[in-house]
Amino acid sequence: MKIRAIALSTFGTLVRNKLIVLFCAIFLVLLLFVTTPLSNMRHNAVGEEIVLQFVSFLMFIVSGFGSLLAAWSAAEAVAGEMKSGTILAVMARPVRRWEFLLGKYLGVQLLMLVYVAFMFGMSYVLAAIGGQSIHAAPWVLIVYPILRYAIYSALAMLLVTVMHPVLAFVGVLITSVLALLVMPGAPSGFMTDQIWMPLYAVLPSMSLLSESQFLGMTQASLQPIPWTNHLTALVYGLDYALVIFLLAVWSFRRRALTRD
């Protein structure tokens, strides 16, 4: 009950956050601009492969923006309460610190669920504008991004318990870029093995948590992947997010709660 109340209140506050609304609006406008070249592709009857590669690229950008949104929302969800002082009234209630943090985390996941639903719909709409259709299993396009966002928001929540939200956001940004760079096959030639190996071991595996590994975009359909591969990837993602979140709870348990 308490956690649900905090989660819903967090969601309500985030969707009213001016910065988040502004960024989402700008992003939406930019997306609307790309409908013109897609529409032209349809009229010029370019091949299915080109259209779907273009859509795939757009969705990569949309997905990346989602990671930033997850990180910023999680950092803001905690830091915003500290800045405004509203945390004092909330924590004066019989609420445990982990319950507060879990409520905040679930509120952010609710926001990201809405975002993924938007992303999911957008990928179909963009493909349709280009005169093509996506035949992939919907759950892959929903669950994998949610897992990535769960990890990034947990990481932001961990960092914001010890630092300024902007620094926490930058920390997540750096982490996500490094995670992409240490992916097998990524351009990481500038890294020595002594650097690459520990980073690869510690950072979230983007190769494992990317839905694109299962999608043959040229056919826009699921490749025949054994269900154990999905299970491994999902358990890995959930486990990673859980560990980071538990670290955030541990760090938050002795955090001074004051108006920043």
Binding site: M1, K2, R4, A5, I6, S9, G12, T13, R16, S84, G85, T86, L88, A89, V90, M91, A92, R93, P94, V95, R96, R97, R254, A256, L257, T258, R259
Partner: protein, 301 residues
Amino acid sequence: MPSLIEFQNVTKVFQDRFTALSGVSFEVEAGEVCAFLGPNGAGKTTSISILMGFLFPDSGAVQVLGFTPGDIRAKEKIGFLPENFAFYKHLTAPKLLRLHLALSGRTAVDDGWIGELLARVKLSGYEDLRISKYSRGMVQRLGIAQALLADPELLILDEPTSGLDPAGRKDVLDLLASLKAAGKTVFVSSHILPEVEQICDRVVVIDRGRLVQTGRLQDLLGSGDKVEIMVDQLSEENGYEAVRRGAVVSRSERGVRMVIDSSQRRAMEEFLWSTGADILSLKQLRGSLEDLFLKLVEERH
């Protein structure tokens, strides 16, 4: 009487540099209204934050309602008003109070109780107005309503009259008096000493992070070592005699006022009767909380 608040030798140092509290000890018993006083920066809000479990002391022991601060068993029985109360501005007052009920673990929402509370803090009629449109005083009243929401045993109020106009301050004091009458324990920090003096039983004074004075108000102010006697009239000659007997005499349209030591009261009464003067009033004089506070703080500066 059991102590609901126990603060034992508490020290809090920020960033190894600034000592906010140094060996502060005090207790508040059940059913008392305790005024927590100190100049700005004395350590009042730090102490209250420790009581609520928002901050952790570097040394010393704190118990609230028999539990360590922050324990939800204690928080279930505490109503808290932070200094400069703030809450989600997009909500309306009833929605905010419903949210707080949910945070208190109450599944059933009693809209009647919410309406009653809003009426008690004079916010009836503003149910549909968002908190962002509230004045500073209205937000403070709403903060008081949320503090009373779960029918707490102990109220911890940090500057409850802050931002309120004189009428609002009087309402808060009346509210505190009614809580006292209902047997609630109230721990209140305030700068409005004459008003707090009317309702408090105990006083804790801190300055620069150190305890300056604590005790029952009656003990600190004394029962009064001076007596004021008003008589209808007194001749010049008898006036001189009263002065010779140790009285301070002043005359006004209302009569003649004399202030003497309590020990001289009976002798003075007999002298006045012998002169044929009518005693209009006789009252014990005692120092004020404000005088005591200023004296204590000035001694340290």
